[in-house]
Symmetry: C2
Subunit: 359 residues, 2 copies
DNA sequence: CAGTCGGGTCGAATCGATTCGACGTACAAT
DNA sequence: ATTGTACGTCGAATCGATTCGACCCGACTG
């Protein structure tokens, strides 16, 4: 080619597929096929195209253009409704995410983290991101507007623990029934004086004793359902609200519940294993023996790194929920209409619950 | 136009901006402006466009087309070289990620998780994702090919702990010097018999005593640098390799180092705080008092949820590194050329180190 | 030897929106 | 009354690649 475009002007604009094609003396169509491998190309041509690309410093087809033409981006959005740090400190969410990656593995897609932080502010928000599908993890209904937009755009959406409404498939467990089963276990052991440590009730993450006002303003389904489950057995039980699912928060809540030896409960239902671990720690600090003097029951069934007890807990299939959500996404992208699945949790009886000591 | 395309055939294809514009009786350009707000539009027109959109069930502009035209996607890629679960269980990575989100906040961008798993398999791999920039976190040089492609495409790239080479800005700490300082602290206390528990040496995450073969095949810079730092003071120290940075792994490594009372070291340098916490746990199980009988030093300066000791450790600014990487990205997108930054870690002396007990 | 099959290549349309320059029109300033 | 200006709107080009139908020609079949 004598008619070189004279790139001496500098790398002002990066080469495009068309440039490469011209350099190789083929059409853009052929060059495209040479790169993507979809369609027949002679080896000679392919080599020539690749060589031209190398000479021009071409870095491969632009993903943006590709995704526009193909109509999909290969990206699955994950909505977390928390800042990144908070979400990633919760082992249950991690497990769920891990299951999700398994579930969508056949897609070979990437995971785009979306939080409510930059809601509408930046160029990428929930309803405004180049995603092929969206998974909502533990989301309150406050996103209905964006979710509606997703629906209109025909983007498959699945929810995990958090009912967005509409005909969105949900992967859930029966939090109330599960907690009730845990409470029944305590009742069967003979406990009558039971308290609970709950997860946050609202996005503000207020900490402290549960008040009717707080409860009325609760936006977190999971928390309220587990609370109801406990009340099904112990209607008037004391409740302490933690600001997050962590050992430290559990410890603080535990300390306030156990501080007064006179009013101390004989068992505590924690709404997560981390909280339970914190409660146990608080008990140990106060010289209260678990389970002889205090029974503790958790929720989740995660392995708490560093906890030496075999926690009595309600084992929920976090990974399975994530995987199911991923598989549902795959189905929906293939035109299917997966159903919601309600998983069951199983009570694992460890060594942190025992009959109350006779007083 | 009397020749309407008669969309009575059904909602086979979703409406586009052009459809909305036609319905509202304006041009596509005007409709675009009405949506994006960039440019002057009369309120009447804007309302008409929005109304038309509502009637047609239009969900807003297609992000794919937008990103093609605008040349940016509003997405920052994060390369982790681990499966999701492993990465998210490491508090240091979480902190770094958190700092990163802070740093790129002005961009309002989303975070796209990229791991080596679907490498080239799926539609989205490192060099083939619609990202505006990429952050490599603790990556080995095995991605040089993809990174080169990124460079060619002119995508800003920043590395955190992991030297990809080239002129990519790096946010690092001097792992060797830091560890050496920790070792010197032990030496100053009088310790002569010291062992170390290292992070994984390779992607296979082999566990066990460190062998010359393993060491020769090491691909993880951080591990090897911290090992060197320890050897600068204690050239022949015993080393046990953990398969991950976790309390449990630290505990196992600790048990094997401390099992034999005769050959037991008086101090252990752990390459992470989680490992240190595990070592302390192992010591407690064996009835070895920390710090009276065993000094333990960690690395990272994270708060280990559930650890009651004030760990002596090398506090590194994980969040700052992440934030700096984010800010570097912002600069690069603005045309700047940020420099690499080498952070310094500080030795925090807690209550887990003390002079060795006289034998 | 004619007809057909199919591998390899090309041209042109397409994906859906954004953006730039141009064109009126209405209103204010001179 | 006229020139200037600012605003609102439109048309057309553009972003960069993929894909579909058409086409050419060598090879194989009847």
């Amino acid at each position: 080619m004598t008619a070189e475009p004279a790139p001496a002007t500098g790398a002002i604009s990066r080469p495009t597929l068309a440039d490469v094609a011209a350099r190789a003396g083929v059409s853009a169509s052929t060059a495209s096929i040479a790169f993507s491998g979809s369609g027949p190309v002679s080896d000679a041509t392919k080599e020539r195209v690749l060589a031209a690309a190398a000479e021009l410093g071409y870095g491969g087809p632009d993903p943006r253009a590709r995704s526009l033409r193909q109509g999909r981006s290969g990206i699955v959005g994950v909505v977390l409704e928390e800042r990144v740090r908070a979400a990633f400190l919760d082992p249950v969410k991690i497990q769920t995410l891990d299951g999700l990656t398994e579930g969508i593995a056949p897609l070979g897609a990437g995971l785009l983290l979306l939080t409510d932080s930059g809601d509408g502010g930046g160029p990428v928000s929930i309803d405004n991101a180049p995603v092929d599908a969206v998974v909502l993890i533990g989301c309150s209904p406050k996103f209905w507007r964006q979710i509606e937009a997703l629906q209109r755009r025909g983007i498959p959406t699945v929810a995990i623990e958090g009912a967005p409404g509409g005909d969105i498939p949900e992967m859930t467990i029966d939090n109330r029934e599960a907690t009730r089963r845990g409470a029944e276990h305590l009742r069967d052991l003979g406990h009558t004086d039971v308290a609970t440590v709950t997860l946050p009730l609202d996005p503000d993450r207020t900490r402290g004793p549960l008040t009717p006002e707080l409860e009325a303003a609760c936006t977190v389904d999971t928390t309220i359902e587990r609370l109801r489950g406990a009340r099904d057995v112990y209607p008037g039980l004391r409740a302490q609200v933690a600001a997050a699912s962590s050992i430290e928060e559990g410890r603080e809540a535990g300390l306030s519940l156990l501080a007064d030896a006179a009013t101390r409960p004989t068992a505590i239902i924690a709404q997560s294993d981390l909280l339970a671990a914190g409660v146990i720690q608080a008990a140990e600090e106060l010289g209260i023996d678990v389970p002889a003097e205090l029974s503790v029951i958790g929720f989740d069934g995660i392995r708490v790194d560093g906890l030496q007890h075999d926690l009595t807990t309600l084992v929920q299939p976090s990974v399975a929920k994530g995987r199911a959500a991923g598989e549902a996404i795959v189905q929906m992208l293939a035109g299917g209409s997966p159903k919601s699945v309600r998983y069951t949790s199983t009570l694992h009886v460890g060594d942190t619950t025992a009959p109350p000591r006779a007083r």
